[in-house]
Symmetry: C2
């Protein structure tokens, strides 16, 4: 996810491009909320750094941990899984070698689906889009806010993508940004060139809003989320779910209820992101090794039902954060993965949530404290809104 | 192919968008070179019209012929073929119902692959693209030249897409257009804001050319062609070919050498386009019905070899036109499809080719004569360069 590519659509082999990363992306939560228990930012950088980091810094941190564990030799690159079937208690996995354009099928005892849920955009149509002469893209294909400098933009959506792409485009000089919501506005205190509206329709290059106002539009960016889409699995192995805090049919959020040899990682809404994936992976390992014994079907169903009941009642980010903290704690109890003080992270997530509401343009200038090393994030030499050098060198440079 | 959609990348179901059409596309050859023998433009429009027509006019003509034949009832929409296998002399075709997200498999005696070869872009990388902050798209995702008004553009490619997108962007107000070639420039007489260069590299938003010049670039449009890509066929049924006048492994250009129950339509380079597809379809029908008996494997291979040998020697558009005319004549002899005077079309194609070279900005203002009705294309009320109303109404309006 933290890889940047200029490619969109399909790659040089005709395969769809999974990347949804943009050049000037910074993490939208403090690093102290997703620090690996066994590989701290202090260890990686050899010094304290700011709490919010640009894309190349994040990628460097994540990749280096993998490099240290010498994982590359286990990974096949440019090999795409095109079909997975299950028969005679075994998975048949067919892969496409994209470079040599050849196929092969191998058998496996277990399959872990860790392909994420940010690769297949959900792209709805709004009235009049077919008459719009300007550019329409999904956030999946958004690569660089500079391309929208000087433009009048519509950003459709009410969640993290809409919020971040709106302020990215503001930072990089869009003339105006109108965030379009369906049910409720995000409600942040936006700068004067950013507003939130409910869209009635487009007609040519004009947007007409439900309050009767209208405006010329150059480009539309759909921040309408992603599909959980697994075209490489045969139908009876596919998780079917919307964006949710608790996925149906997954015991402990990872074990496929209908086949205990199939696992899904990171399919739920996320506050803990990379530490969540890590903890889930640890648990999956234990199920595969048999060091964790799954309960009866009845107990599995009962537990899924309990979590879903709780999840259905969540009505605020704060409650969601508590829910996901409880979920993490539940897995933590079962595995011997690198632990950290999760209640402390929970508290920091709530502070983070508050910062965003307080001022979406300055929340990335705040500092948090590592729950592992106790190191406090240093102030960045330039506040986020004016920091245009996103390179590792530029970020780590002395002021 | 003549359907316009604002969508690019993947659709609302997560499926890749096959369309490569842009709003202001006009046919790039005269309608007198691809008129159906059994449904003339005179019959469709009830009067003479210009030789070159905008997209909606083309689509209307093609669709109406299908509507008159009452074909809609045979077509399943929003059903995608995801897998085709061959076993026990039978094809198993698995389809995905995109709206209901369900799958089903049916058996068939014959399969005709008519999915075209303009849906999977070939997207090569040029040095420095990863540093370029502007927009990079393939012509597959090009929807509207108006989006590039006022911009400095690079158009990469040397064939029809590059030529047409360059002049589209010129027509709709691009500030400058630099067509980048690999081997040889197209060599047309371009207007002053259009030039052809060989690209050395990009560095940020600057392009450096092999002659030592450089220039700021806002957007890059890759007109680098398409892949023959059939991810829905199992490997042993897949045609593997590049862009070519004569596809390997296809007898009469359509019958899959390795399995005579599998057919491909329109896989070669095209001068005859829709009349070619029609003629091929007629022949395929006859093979399926058994009214045409295939020769021995040896004779099939011999004939493929003969055609390929001829195709390999073609060195000019004129020779290519003759080659494809001979190919059409060869099929014409075998089937009772609606015929037309193909030598007369051949001559007109050569005149068309000459017009393009003479002046790429005015060739669409020329008129040709129908080889079926003898009707001469009328002059359009506005020359192409200044005709901005592409609608059917606007096109057919009196001057």
């Amino acid at each position: 996810m933290w890889n940047l590519t200029w490619r969109t659509g399909s790659d040089q082999y005709g395969d769809s491009v999974p990347n949804s990363m943009y050049r000037h992306m910074w993490s939208n939560s403090p690093k102290e909320c997703f620090e690996f228990g066994d590989y701290t930012f202090d260890e990686h950088f050899g010094r304290a750094i700011p709490s919010y980091t640009p894309r190349p810094v994040m990628r460097d941190y994540i990749i280096t941990r993998a490099v240290k564990a010498d994982l590359k030799k286990y990974i096949k690159f440019n090999i795409k899984v095109v079909n997975v079937t299950f028969d005679n208690n075994t998975f048949s996995v067919t892969t496409w070698d994209k470079i040599n354009d050849s196929f092969s099928t191998e058998e496996f005892d277990f399959v872990v689906v860790a392909s994420g849920h940010l690769s297949f955009p959900y792209v709805p149509e709004y009235p009049g889009m077919d008459t719009f002469p300007g550019r329409i893209i999904h956030s999946h294909d958004f690569r660089n806010a500079e391309q929208f400098s000087g433009q009048d933009l519509i950003v459709i959506g009410s969640s993290y993508s809409a919020e971040d792409i709106a302020i990215q485009c503001y930072k990089y000089g869009a003339k105006s940004i109108t965030i379009v919501y369906r049910q409720n506005p995000i409600g942040f205190k936006w700068p004067s060139t950013v507003k939130e509206m409910s869209l009635d329709r487009l007609e040519g290059n004009m947007a007409y809003f439900k309050d009767g106002n209208s405006q010329k539009v150059d480009s539309i960016i759909l921040c309408t989320g992603y599909l959980r889409h697994f075209p490489f699995l045969e139908e009876n192995l596919r998780l079917k779910t919307e964006n949710t805090d608790c996925c149906p049919d997954l015991y402990k959020g990872v074990v496929w209820k209908k086949n205990h040899k199939l696992f899904y990682l990171g399919m739920q809404n996320q506050y803990y992101t990379i530490t969540l994936f890590d903890t889930q992976a640890w648990f999956v390992r234990d199920v595969i090794l048999g060091t964790f014994c799954l309960p009866s079907e009845r107990d599995i169903q009962k537990e899924i039902d309990t979590f879903r009941l709780k999840a259905d009642k969540l009505s605020s980010p704060s409650e969601q954060i508590d829910y996901h903290t409880d979920y993490m704690k539940d897995i933590f109890k079962l595995v011997d993965c690198p632990k950290f003080n999760i209640d402390q992270v929970n508290q920091q997530l709530k502070v983070w949530e508050h910062h965003r509401k307080e001022n979406i343009l300055t929340y990335r200038d705040k500092s948090f404290t590592s729950v592992i090393t106790g190191t406090r994030g240093t102030p960045h030499h330039t506040d986020w809104l004016h920091a245009f050098d996103d390179s590792i060198m530029g970020f780590l440079a002395e002021p």
